[in-house]
């Protein structure tokens, strides 16, 4: 995909960001050339200028984030995908939507009949999973990125841990998770345990999928904070990401996406999981997606990467959050 929206809108956004910064900064700051006698330059106490080459096109960007079930030593792209999320970025509005897919969702896999969505990757790699999600939603994915247990752990470790406001305690011996509620610094191991835990969640895998979205939002918030304080941290994040994940995103476009991500307000990111009902297919537990809801969400998301309030389903962890 070509990087979208380079041009006047980007400039306008950059200029408006600078303007907003200047307007919001301390009294006595000046932003433009002034008469030498009326306003000597040395009276500029804290002048600031920035240019961030963010994407600002009107079309949304869709990235499929995949978490593989692969343990250390296993090929991440050849096993089941236990974490599947479409991240939609609206560059023009600097907004983001995260849509989780229950790993047990029963869906048609192109060329392989109807089975659990997590089997798509073990059958045909990340490319087949992308095709499956595209067929299910009717939305073309621009990029995909894939990591496994070890890669995810290492990624968090290499950025120095992840600060997260955990909304409820997560205790799951199977996932080696014992994470109290509250704002805290998660190590790579902690973050992985949080991502794996589902037994303490009333809605099981639905709730876990939403928690994956929480990790993405926490990462976004931290990237934004670090970038504001030290822009060179962006390279540390990109390095950690690419060393520990596979992706089809060219580096230059990843750089543009990363710059764009720094403009997104994490508090306004919408994080949902496709709703469905748990059922059985033979002896296997499966999730039957609500096809009408999936269609409505997909059509809404496709337009601008955003969801109308009416299309935002209740949180699967609602019981824990109330």
């Amino acid at each position: 995909m070509a990087v979208r929206g380079r041009g006047a809108r980007r400039i306008a956004l950059a200029v408006s960001l600078v303007t907003a910064w200047v307007v919001g900064s301390t009294v006595g700051t000046t932003s433009g050339p002034t008469s030498a006698r009326a306003m000597p330059l040395f009276q500029i106490e804290q002048a600031h200028a920035e240019h961030v080459p963010v994407l600002d096109g009107s079309e949304p960007i869709f990235v499929l984030l995949i978490g593989s079930d692969a343990r250390p030593g296993e090929a991440v792209g050849e096993l089941r995908a236990d974490s599947i999320h479409v991240v939609a970025i609206n560059p023009a509005e600097s907004k983001m939507t995260i849509v989780g897919f229950p790993r047990d969702a029963l869906v048609p896999i192109p060329g392989f009949g109807t089975t659990k969505i997590n089997a798509a990757m073990s059958t045909g790699g990340p490319e087949l999973l992308v095709e499956t999600v595209e067929d299910l939603t009717g939305i073309t994915m621009d990029y995909w990125a894939l990591t496994g247990f070890r890669g995810f752990d290492a990624m968090i470790t290499q950025i120095g841990g992840l600060t997260m406001d955990v909304p409820f305690s997560v205790v799951d011996s199977a996932a080696e998770a014992n994470i109290p509620a509250g704002r805290q610094q998660l190590t790579g191991d902690d973050a992985l345990a949080f991502a794996r835990a589902r037994h303490s969640l009333p809605s099981g895998d639905f709730g876990r999928s939403e928690n994956h979205g929480r990790l993405i939002i926490a990462a976004l918030a931290q990237l934004k904070r670090e970038f504001t304080k030290d822009p060179s941290r962006l390279l540390v994040w990109i390095g950690a990401g690419l060393r520990n994940a596979q992706s089809d995103v060219p580096l230059d476009q990843l750089m543009s996406l990363a710059f764009t991500a720094t403009t997104v307000n994490p508090k306004r990111v919408v994080n949902i999981v496709l709703p469905g009902s748990v059922g059985m297919s033979g002896t296997t537990s499966v999730v039957n997606l609500n096809s009408t809801t999936v269609e409505a969400i997909s059509r809404d998301l496709e337009t601008d990467g955003l969801l109308k309030r009416a299309n935002i389903p209740p949180s699967p962890n609602e019981q824990l959050l109330s």
């Binding site: 400039i11 950059a14 500029i44 200028a49 920035e50 240019h51 390279l235 540390v236």
Partner: protein, 261 residues
């Protein structure tokens, strides 16, 4: 600003004095050979016109053009300045890349290709009198990519000494500057993006004899596209009044002048 201290005005004055022997020669020749009066007159008219034109041009051009009025900055060179390179970090995207080799590559890159760009950015923006006396920093923008250059043009007061600096400052001398780098290598272990964390300080003498510390700091992202260019920046300017440079011992320059990185 003192008039007639530059070379060009002196040369113009000298040229105007050269006309006098011609007149004298003409007078001598007029007595000896009347046939030559007309050619000499024809010759003198354009010479006088040219001389008058030169004088007129020098008077009205003024400012940074090297005229008789305010012309002392002609041929005034930018003070020599080089940033001191601090730490150079590498970021690789290939997990098993040879980090020692990448470190060597990164250090060579920043020394040979990146630091000269940043030296030029701050020299063009803050130190070169040919730019700041006229408020013309056009050459600076070639160091940015197209989009970043557009933003840079609208932020002269941060990225340069300013559009009106020529009306305010008598001279600017660099004090010190340092850069720390991070170099991101791509999947082929080629340098892709460089961030430069820059700190710069200079001392400027205002027309009224007071001094200002020019303090500039920020981060630049550079990528290679027809040379290494700035694609993103976040720069702060934090000037403040400062004490005059400490007088140096006899025969030496003041402490604020001529210092580098």
């Amino acid at each position: 600003m003192t008039a007639a201290s530059g070379r060009y005005p002196q040369r113009a004055l000298a040229e105007s004095r050269l006309a006098q022997p011609v007149v004298a020669n003409r007078a001598e020749r007029r007595n000896g050979n009347r046939k030559r009066r007309l050619p000499l007159a024809v010759l003198l008219v354009p010479i006088a016109l040219v001389a008058a034109g030169i004088v007129l041009f020098m008077v009205v051009s003024g400012g940074g053009g090297g005229g008789l009025i305010g012309g002392d900055e002609e041929d005034e060179a930018a003070p020599p300045f080089d940033f001191r390179v601090g730490r150079v970090r590498i970021e690789r995207v290939v997990a098993d890349a040879d980090t020692d080799a990448l470190q060597t590559d990164a250090e060579a890159l920043v020394t040979e290709e990146i630091t000269p760009v940043i030296d030029e950015l701050w020299t063009d923006g803050f130190l070169d009198p040919a730019n700041w006396r006229r408020g013309d920093y056009e050459e600076l923008f070639s160091l940015f990519d197209a989009d970043a250059a557009t933003t840079a043009r609208s932020n002269l007061d941060v990225l340069t000494l300013g559009a009106t600096a020529g009306d305010q400052y008598e001279r600017v001398t660099p004090d010190r500057g340092g850069i720390a780098y991070t170099v991101l290598f791509d999947r082929d272990n080629n340098p892709d993006t460089v961030t430069a964390s820059v700190r710069f300080r200079a001392t400027a003498e205002l027309m009224d004899g007071t001094f200002v510390a020019i303090v500039s700091a920020g981060q630049l992202f550079l990528q290679e596209s027809d040379g290494w260019k700035v694609i993103a920046f976040d720069v702060n300017r934090n000037d403040r009044e400062t004490a005059p440079p400490t007088p140096a011992p006899s025969g030496a320059t003041p402490s604020a002048t001529g210092a580098t990185g």
